[in-house]
């Protein structure tokens, strides 16, 4: 006789989760664990030596610092640019908001290669920007070298990431209770004071969530830096180089584990912020 297995309603529904959970456990978690494990094994035994070597090496410490500082700088610039744009989108745009959202999302759908190509053309030695500056506006005597400068690489990274910041700040601004601002205005606060003492504090958590999102994506990006140069030495770039040329896979595993730790820390911070907002 067949044994009859009775499952409660809840347990049966939980089976719906099984395929996705098993798939990600095998093909997402296992590869990452396997990769990290490789950095802890040397000559068949467990070792922390790669990490102690890595974290005491001035060059590699510099790489970690540069990765974090570059991502933080790109994030700060993106948020500063995004806030006014998000404010216009939510409060002022009216009938234009659909168009604005379209032009925010359309770039998200273009490939990194396309945008990089655009930057290369615009900022080439005889490119549009140099022609404007030298011939049309007469601001410069000779064309400037833009390509392979840190500034252009940062601008290109901001270009990739700023739409994410605008969209997440806009969704928080939308949730601000306008009556609180009206109250402040009625009680005699100026518009600027109302903004800094009411609107901005109410959106700080949202800015935080958006900033972490941008920071996380910035931390992992390398295609822009490979194609536009700028002389940065970041963890993703070094992993890419290790894979391509040096082929020290254990070192690459060590670096990707450190990069993963930074990503997990960001994810944890993001969850804490979201919980505080009660989303």
């Amino acid at each position: 006789m067949m044994p009859t297995v009775t499952l409660s309603n809840g347990a049966r529904r939980a089976l719906l989760l099984a395929p996705a959970l098993i798939f990600l456990a095998v093909f997402f978690v296992m590869p990452l664990l396997d990769n990290s494990a490789r950095s802890f094994i040397r000559e068949g035994g467990f070792t922390l030596s790669r990490y102690t070597d890595f974290l005491t090496d001035r060059f590699y410490l510099g790489v970690i610092a540069e990765t974090v500082i570059l991502s933080a700088a790109v994030t700060a610039i993106s948020v500063l640019i995004a806030y006014p744009v998000a404010y216009v989108l939510v409060r002022k745009a009216g009938g234009f908001s659909g168009l604005m959202i379209f032009f925010l999302i359309a770039p998200l759908l273009t490939s990194i290669i396309m945008r990089t190509f655009g930057w290369q053309v615009l900022f080439a030695r005889r490119g549009l920007v140099n022609q404007w500056l030298v011939n049309d506006l007469g601001l410069l005597d000779a064309p400037l070298r833009w390509l392979n400068t840190p500034g252009l690489a940062i601008a290109a990274l901001v270009h990739v990431l700023v739409p994410f910041a605008v969209l997440s700040i806009a969704s928080v601004l939308q949730g601000v209770d306008r009556r609180l601002e009206e109250g402040a205005l009625m009680l005699g606060a100026s518009r600027i004071r109302t903004f800094f003492e009411v609107t901005l504090p109410l959106t700080v958590d949202g800015i935080g969530t958006g900033a972490i999102l941008v920071f996380m994506i910035a931390n992992g990006s390398f295609v822009t830096l490979v194609l536009l140069g700028g002389g940065f030495q970041t963890l993703p770039l070094l992993i890419y180089q290790q894979f391509n040329t040096t082929r020290d896979f254990a070192l690459a595993s060590t670096m990707s584990t450190i990069l993963l730790m930074i990503a997990l820390a960001c994810l944890w911070l993001q969850l804490r912020l979201l919980r505080r907002q009660g989303v």
């Binding site: 798939f23 490939s111 270009h159 992992g220 990069l259 993963l260």
Partner: protein, 263 residues
């Protein structure tokens, strides 16, 4: 208009010029008659679109990318839709943890996922193959399907399904006749996102490059390292056109505002 408002609008306009200029320039260059990529262009022509079809690696990789996008999207739907259905009705603390886990591939650096998967899948014997690529692409596409379907289903009142069941419909009939039609816009939008994500992916596909498994972005990157001609612009323009069509379709099906809030 107040002075501060004018300043805000000027800033916003400058922002959109910054956003659109590098992309618009590439679109214009794809129609150039010149043999080099420069702006402004000396004259108009469609020859760089023809060049795409003459260069075999472009076409081969385009076919690989299209198939890959379809396979990863179908797999993501099969795995993701049931999970999304469960999670949007669950209320326990566990459900939040599981949702976070299922969406976490979005937050991990792509280069680490690609690098780690190459070694892991090679050890399993999959090697550098279309199957390996499809598996890794499913990992990164799955969260998009789960997120969009869950967002749509959460907005569906349970009363519809309860009514069907009370009127005697079985579990499966209820799903096919009530639930599925209601979540179809979410499935469509999630699938579009998933397809576009796969189609555009470079950091993961890069690690699985070979003559048989090169995707379009990988071939474009390799091409750009040696040549700087407008055929890359023409390809990019085609890709953008595809994405915009998909975006307009998704907007009709699902609403563009909802997509941005879900981010």
């Amino acid at each position: 208009m107040r002075l501060s408002d004018i300043a805000l609008w000027v800033f916003t306009l400058a922002f959109f010029i910054f956003m659109i200029l590098p992309i618009a320039v590439v679109v214009v260059i794809s129609f150039t008659e010149a043999g080099y990529a420069a702006f402004p262009i000396p004259g108009w022509s469609l020859k760089w679109f023809a060049r795409i079809f003459e260069y075999e690696p472009f076409i081969d990789s385009l076919i690989t990318s299209l198939w890959l996008g379809v396979v990863a999207t179908v797999a993501s739907c099969l795995l993701g839709i049931p999970a999304a259905l469960y999670l949007s009705r669950a209320r326990s603390g566990w459900a939040t943890v599981i949702t976070t886990f299922l969406l976490s591939p979005l937050s991990m650096p792509m280069i680490v996922i690609g690098f780690a998967s190459l070694f892991f899948l090679s050890a399993l014997g999959f090697g550098i193959s279309f199957l390996s690529l499809a598996i890794v692409h499913t990992v990164i596409c799955l969260p998009y399907v789960i997120r969009t379907v869950a967002a749509v289903y959460r907005a569906v009142p349970p009363a519809y399904e309860e009514a069907a069941m009370i009127l005697g419909a079985g579990r499966f009939t209820t799903f096919r006749e009530v639930t599925l039609p209601l979540i179809r816009p979410g499935i469509a939008a999630g699938s579009l996102f998933s397809f576009l994500t796969s189609f555009d992916n470079l950091p993961v596909s890069y690690f699985f490059g070979s003559a048989q498994t090169n995707t379009l972005p990988v071939v474009m990157l390799a091409y750009m390292e040696h040549q700087f001609d407008p055929s890359i612009a023409a390809l990019s323009t085609l890709q953008l056109l595809l994405a915009i069509v998909a975006l307009v379709v998704a907007d009709r099906l699902y609403g563009i505002e909802k997509m941005t809030v879900a981010t």
